[in-house]
């Protein structure tokens, strides 16, 4: 096929070395792509919902990740297939944009592909299917907007935020203490949120984990936690009302950037240099002392002599603090990062009510708490847990919850979870389908079917009869014309998601539908896959 003939009947080659390449064309290419996409979706399908299972991933170095988070699973999976890579991208972009619903979006895309396959078998052109999906997704997004509800909250009354975060956390391994974790997440977000501008800078929330203790010990610290200890073992372990000098210059003799040499050729020069050296250290410490600092936090190391001088002058110090932490400390304490000793002034010092060192377990592990800061706009979530994988998974779960809380502050519209929104959309899309003349009608119906697959997967994972449950809920929604009925995953006994307090964010849901549709459209448009063969 890759061979063509010119007007003189001579063959010429279009694809070079084609016998070494595999090539799929036309309907075969589409079928193969769809199959690959479906395979990825199938892996994630069982992770959906509160009764979803986890995946264990063994990395190339034998390290183990156990996760339930779609984006994490897909990222760690060693995927080779191009289409599968698209699905991985899809989940990642949901993660970047919204932070939650990363599993749902892949399951949704998988369902759309499955339906598309059926339409292809009917002989509908892929572009027509893609167009139909596009129309349907518009209908669905508008419908979501219609059924969404606004809820009110403010800094003191955040119950509804906690409820939404709990919905997110209930599908993770941490659901044992979802209430307290959700509260931590909400409090953390509210602490750093700018409610006026409706914006949250998640960089201000640091999530730290330390193995040991139990999940219930996880706490929110209104301040910064640094995984460092005092530079000299005999420095005080606790400082009240600390004035913090935040330095990015080492306690060492200066190193000019330009290349230079100091030649010592006489005894006098040797002596002067010696004096000079001592003076340097003395001046550095004295400068810190002069501006009234009671704690020095430094990005670099200290010379032994400087270290002792600091200790001697009763000036506790912390060394080798990372750049990110340093910035956070500066934000939290209202201090300025000082790059040179000469520029130290009392105004540039940060203030903290309490700085203390705390040790953990039987090994020599200490952490530095900086609390009661002048500007409380930086908080730390400190996670404890039985083992490393647990901590990692908790970190991811907290991240999801933080994102959800942030999204709610940006846009306080919610839809109901448990598949209720999907079912309602499916009904709306189905009804809208009849209005479209032409082949697209079929594609729109297929879209409605695909929407059903999310609640179906939820029911399946919860051990319910998927078809029976879904049809029961669907008829209930139509009969009472209320979009709140969803799948009762936790066996509470009611389908009303308002009563169960299962909420999801509107933007999250909309984004899921839009992203999934886009990817599916892209996959459908491919009709030729050329890949280099194995070598």
């Amino acid at each position: 096929m890759a061979l063509a003939f010119d007007e003189y009947g001579r063959p010429f080659i279009i694809v070079r070395e084609q016998d070494q390449k595999t090539r799929l064309k036309g309907i075969d290419a589409q079928k193969a792509n769809i199959a690959a996409g479906k395979a990825v979706a199938r892996i994630l399908r069982s992770s959906l919902g509160p009764k979803g299972m986890d995946k264990m991933l063994q990395g190339p170095d034998g390290d183990i990740t156990i996760s339930n988070d779609g984006a994490t699973i897909l990222e760690q999976m060693d995927v080779d297939n191009q289409i599968a890579k698209l699905m991985v991208e899809l989940s990642r972009s949901q993660d970047y944009e919204i932070g939650d619903g990363t599993t749902g979006v892949v399951v949704m895309a998988g369902a759309l592909l499955e339906q598309a396959e059926r339409q292809l078998d009917r002989g509908i052109h892929p572009i027509r299917i893609a167009e139909g999906y596009e129309m349907a997704s518009r209908v669905a997004v508008e419908h979501l907007q219609r059924i969404s509800q606004k809820f009110e909250f403010d800094a003191d009354n955040y119950e509804s935020l906690v409820q939404t975060c709990m919905t997110t956390l209930s599908s993770k391994i941490v659901n044992r203490c979802k209430r307290s974790l959700a509260e931590i997440a909400v409090k953390a977000v509210l602490a750093v949120a700018d409610l006026e501008r409706k914006d949250v800078n998640l960089d201000l929330i640091k999530v730290e984990g330390k193995v040991g203790g139990k999940l219930e010990d996880t706490e929110l610290i209104y301040g910064i936690l640094v995984d460092k200890d005092m530079s000299h073992p005999q420095m005080p372990k606790q400082i009240a009302d600390a004035n913090i000098a935040i330095l990015t210059c080492p306690f060492e003799p200066p190193k000019p950037k330009t290349k230079h040499k100091v030649d010592i050729d006489t005894v006098e020069k040797f002596e002067t240099l010696r004096k000079q050296e001592q003076q340097y250290f003395d001046e550095m410490v004295q400068k810190c002392k002069d501006v009234g600092a009671t704690l020095v936090i430094c990005q670099w190391g200290f010379d032994d002599e400087a270290n002792h001088l600091l200790m001697h002058r009763n000036l506790p110090a912390v060394r080798w603090v990372g750049g990110v932490e340093l910035e956070l400390i500066a934000i939290a304490t209202g201090g300025r990062i000082v790059p040179r000793f000469q520029e130290l002034t009392p105004e540039k010092l940060g203030k903290a009510g309490l700085v203390r060192e705390k040790s953990f377990g039987t090994t020599k592990e200490r952490m530095l708490y900086i609390e009661h800061c002048a500007n409380s706009k930086a908080v730390t979530v400190f996670i404890r847990g039985g083992n490393k994988m647990m901590i990692e998974e908790t970190k991811r779960s907290i991240h999801d919850a933080l994102c959800v809380a942030r999204n709610l502050i940006r846009n306080n519209s919610i839809v109901y979870g448990g598949g209720a929104a999907e079912i309602s959309c499916s009904l709306a899309v189905d009804a809208a389908a009849d209005k479209y003349p032409g082949v697209e009608q079929y594609a729109i119906r297929a879209f409605a079917e695909a929407l059903d697959s999310v609640p179906m997967a939820l029911a399946e994972n919860s051990g319910l009869q998927p078809i029976e449950t879904l049809s029961a809920v669907k008829s209930q929604q139509i009969k009472e014309n209320i979009p709140f009925y969803g799948i009762d995953c936790n066996d509470v006994g009611t389908n009303d998601m308002r009563e169960q307090n299962v909420f999801e964010t509107l933007i999250g849901k909309q984004q899921q539908i839009l992203l999934a549709t886009q990817v599916v459209k892209m996959i459908l448009k491919i009709d030729d896959v050329i890949s280099p063969s194995e070598y």
Binding site: I43, K261, T363, N387, M390
Partner: protein, 527 residues
């Protein structure tokens, strides 16, 4: 149309039943591996390293065994991880936690086979673990108010911990030693300040806790071997060439005389430094870094004892013991706090000379000298003692204690059984299974001791039916007895950590339904 492969070469995926199977099998294999080391009559393992020299370790400590294993099974790695955490957190119970997690999974496998969903099992396990913890909390003994009783509690805990180790022959001796050492820490959990010095030779019984402090160093030649009322300066400073630290400085000379001059100046500088140090009015100088011959000679001339190359922890401990501060500059002698002790002398242990500081002021740190027949014995003794010290230091902070000998497990099992009867639904099966897993710990302990476990456990269960029973298995005499009378105690914190970590790990493994293994990273063959 068959699906093209999604994963890269060599990457594999195991799904559903097979994934669960592989993690169950892996976890149980690990738990069976360490099972035989549980309890006072547990056996040891020999570990041979693949590295050069094929070093051999003989141990009974779960965490040490598991740490040295090369495991490929992901679920097994989870168990190894919890054992490591248990070691870091509380120090003891590293075997129990793995055995309990393994038993929980074994029970779960049966439940899964009888078509109970893993999520239901997890829910049941959680309820059971909560209930078990509450049951223990109700029965804890807290003697913090009464220092004498508290001390005896601690000794009993130490003895219980030690009795499963190589030190079991001299457990009273070592228990006393460990408790004394812990009391000197005064509530700090920093075990770094307890120095354990291992010297082959003699028998384990000859091990002792030193009142003062021992530094494993030699005294410089020509310096006094014995100093009374010593004033010690603890320092961290370069005593070799003392380079000019200013960047880019270098010596450049054009004649031999100048070399000599500079050398002279260098010497002068060192001499200055030594003089400054001497100006502190000391008669002992301990430095973390090297001391070259020249300054050493100067110190010897001044009649000052100079000790070089004490490692960092040694310096820190010495600072703690003598109450001196670690100095690096010596310009203002009046404000540097010096360490003090009554007597410094050189002592001999076996064939080695050590420096002994006695009559120290603060005494927050101490040294334990272990003696034993071989390096293997000493290593194992150190690990055992370390376990005991860890447990004790944790108990000092959380003074709640429990009875031992399988008593806590039976108490929990009883409460959990009670809960199972009250709980409606499928969860009750899981709760029941949890109680069975708990009972398997005393069963294993009895089995390892060569006792009739079925008989003993049944007897124990019957006795526990009455309220407030203190019975447990006394492995030494091979019978069921009152644990309070026999003085077998365990720390609450250890038991709680075992229970919670094991449940958490089991839960984590149960939740998995899909294992994806990436292709191993290729390493360039350097061979």
């Amino acid at each position: 149309m068959p699906i093209d492969k999604i994963f890269k070469d060599e990457a594999s995926e195991e799904k559903g039943e097979r994934a669960r199977m592989s993690s169950f099998v892996g976890a149980m294999a690990i738990s069976d591996l360490v099972k035989t080391t549980l309890g006072p009559k547990g056996m040891d393992k020999i570990l041979q390293s693949t590295g050069r020299g094929h070093a051999v370790t003989v141990t009974n400590d779960g965490a040490t065994i598991l740490k040295s294993l090369h495991i490929d099974n992901p679920a097994a790695k989870v168990l190894i991880d919890i054992s490591k955490v248990q070691d870091d957190e509380v120090g003891d119970g590293t075997t129990s936690v793995v055995v309990l997690a393994g038993e929980l999974l074994r029970e779960a496998e049966k439940l899964v086979a009888s078509k109970i969903h893993p999520m239901t099992i997890i829910a049941g396990y959680r309820m059971a673990a909560e209930c078990g913890r509450d049951a223990l909390l109700k029965r804890v003994i807290d003697n913090k108010e009464n220092p004498e009783k508290f001390r005896s509690d601690l000794i009993k805990i130490a003895m219980t911990t030690l009795c499963s180790k190589i030190l079991s022959q001299d457990k009273e001796h070592f228990a006393e030693m460990a408790v004394d050492a812990i009391f000197r820490l005064k509530g700090s959990t920093n075990l770094e300040s307890i120095q354990i010095i291992k010297k082959p030779g003699g028998s384990l019984k000859d091990s002792f806790l030193d009142e003062g402090f021992i530094l494993d160093k030699k005294i410089g030649i020509g310096q006094p071997k014995r100093i009374e009322n010593a004033k010690i300066l603890v320092a961290n400073t370069a005593m070799d060439t003392d380079k000019v630290k200013i960047y880019g400085a270098r010596v450049r000379v054009d004649s031999m005389t100048k070399v000599a001059e500079i050398e002279g100046a260098e010497k002068e500088k060192m001499k200055d430094k030594v003089n400054k140090i001497l100006a502190h009015g000391i008669n002992c100088f301990v430095n973390r870094q090297l001391i070259y011959n020249f300054p050493e000679e100067l110190f010897a001339d001044a009649g000052v004892l100079a000790i070089e190359h004490a490692d960092f922890e040694g310096i820190e401990r010495l600072g703690l013991v003598t109450g001196g501060e670690i100095a690096s500059t010596f310009d203002n002698p009046e404000s540097v706090k010096l360490g003090e002790c009554k007597l410094i002398e050189e002592i001999m242990i076996g064939e080695d000379k050590l420096i002994h500081f006695s009559g120290v002021a603060m005494g927050q740190a101490c040294s334990i000298v272990l003696r034993g027949a071989s390096h293997h014995v000493l290593d194992e003794a150190e690990r055992s003692l370390h376990d005991a010290l860890c447990v004790l230091s944790q108990t000092v902070n959380d003074s709640r204690v429990l009875l031992g000998g399988g008593w806590p497990e039976m108490v929990m099992a009883k409460e959990v059984d009670e809960l199972a009867r009250k709980t409606p639904g499928k969860k009750s099966h899981a709760i029941e299974a949890f109680s069975r897993a708990l009972v398997s710990i005393p069963t294993t302990i009895a089995d390892n001791a060569g006792l009739d476990s079925a008989e003993l456990v049944a007897q124990l269960r019957a006795e526990h039916h009455s309220e407030g029973c203190n019975s447990g298995i006394d492995v030494i005499s091979g019978s069921v007895g009152n644990m309070e009378e026999r003085g077998i105690y365990e720390a609450f914190k250890v038991k709680q950590a075992v229970l919670l970590s094991a449940t958490e790990a089991a839960e984590m493994i149960l939740r998995v339904d899909d294992i994806i293994t990436c292709a191993p990273r290729r390493r360039e063959d350097r061979m």
